[in-house]
Symmetry: C2
Subunit: 265 residues, 2 copies
């Protein structure tokens, strides 16, 4: 069974892309077939795995009904493919607005890539154990598509005040989406990012989020680490760029928690 995980938070710069990319690489390294879908016109996930912006992209899939499998490309990471994005996706929100089923375009497009019982024998299309989707920093139509297409969500929250402010609104929005678009949508967990153990503000934000959301917060906290900011400029996830770094260890330990939560049912 395929698990589709959306990485959402309308607050900018909280670590959505960093978490989606590095979890994807860690889960792929644990011998699961992973597809990373870049639903952000900034296409940061795409460049983080060393893929260019000039081939077919998610824009063609959502707007021109290209089969998703035709836009998917391999990365240098074994078991990890990507459905890339590029800046043409900026126009998609306006292009989609007048169309029918506008919130379900992504869900429909990735349906054939799910591994329903024995599908991998029947079709020549590659199927995946995990489909991870990186969303842009907004609550517009692109993010609604991610919320409608996902089975579960991971919400990255930076250990800073502004990120805390927007969290309850986001949870409220997810509840409304569950009613309107996707009744089975679950919150897999909240992951605290850019934690600096020397700062009071980091400790306070983690405490506040754990008080509010209890065991919905992953045990693994991602520390602020410069190696994580350097890795994307080399087009490599952290476990390839610097496997011994704190960032690599944090994302490996998060991957263990995520796989356990996703596969236990």
């Amino acid at each position: 069974m395929t698990t589709v995980i959306g990485f959402v938070n309308q607050k900018g710069g909280v670590g959505k892309t960093t978490t989606a990319v590095n979890l994807a690489a860690c889960i792929a390294s644990a011998n699961r077939r992973v597809l990373l879908v870049d639903m952000d016109p900034q296409s940061n996930s795409t460049s983080a795995v060393g893929i260019g912006r000039d081939g077919p992209s998610i824009h063609d899939v959502l707007i021109d009904a290209m089969p998703a499998a035709n836009a998917v490309c391999a990365t240098f990471v074994e078991n990890l493919n990507i459905l890339p994005s590029n800046p043409s996706l900026y126009g998609a929100e306006i292009e989609l607005l007048d169309s029918s089923e506008r919130e379900y375009r992504l869900k429909t497009a990735i349906q054939p890539l799910r591994d329903t019982q024995g599908a991998s024998q029947r079709t020549s299309i590659p199927v995946y154990d995990y489909i991870l989707i990186d969303a842009p920093p907004s609550l517009g139509l692109l993010t609604l598509n991610v919320l409608a297409a996902s089975d579960t969500l991971i919400i990255p929250v930076q250990c800073e005040y502004y990120a805390l402010e927007g969290l309850s609104l986001l949870i409220h929005t997810v509840d409304r989406v569950r009613v309107a678009l996707n009744p089975d949508l679950l919150l897999l967990g909240i992951v605290m990012t850019m934690h600096d153990s020397r700062l009071n503000i980091s400790r306070q934000v983690v405490e506040e989020v754990r008080n509010h959301f209890g065991d919905k917060v992953f045990n693994t906290v991602i520390a602020r680490s410069v190696r994580l900011t350097e890795a994307p400029s080399h087009g490599q996830p952290i476990i390839f760029y610097d496997p011994r770094s704190t960032g690599a260890q944090n994302y490996i330990s998060l991957a263990v928690e995520v796989i356990h939560a996703a596969e236990k049912t």
Copy 2:
């Protein structure tokens, strides 16, 4: 003459709000009348100056044609007022789409607040020397309204790789807006934020941006400083929260550059 400055960058978390809020407070302290306009549904600028979300807001001004002066409220900072935001603004992009003049709603709304020759004698409406507008992390209709309403732009760029990636696209978008919506739109400058002098990546990004954009980059570089992340949770700009901090000094020196650039013509 009033100078309207938009703070834009579609990359999330680069310091748009932090720069708009702290510049507004510093310029107000230099005895100019300043209005801070919060065009982000996250309403971080609003809470950064200690204002709540339950009064009239920019949503009422843009959608229900409330006069902007009726939504403006004073802050505890002398010479600094705010036109607040709240989450109802999330719906504005869809609400605005079918309306006429949808990109010019903000420009029209703030027109009466500009100090044209001697206006402050004629009307009872307060007018401003500076109107600073904080934009959300996207290139949607809210940001287009900011680009259409502004005389000049300040682009905060975080000293990290992803922020660099999106910069040339943003400059390209600004050029297109100048042709389509706002022929007089000028780039006042690019400000480098969250600089950490111990990190190579910070130095490399600053060098790359200065090579590309030359004197369009402000001399003042905003250092990464924890006092800047703490200040918003107290609802205070940095020069009130911790006047002796690096963050306060950086924003005072940036304000000097900005006032000089805005008032020299």
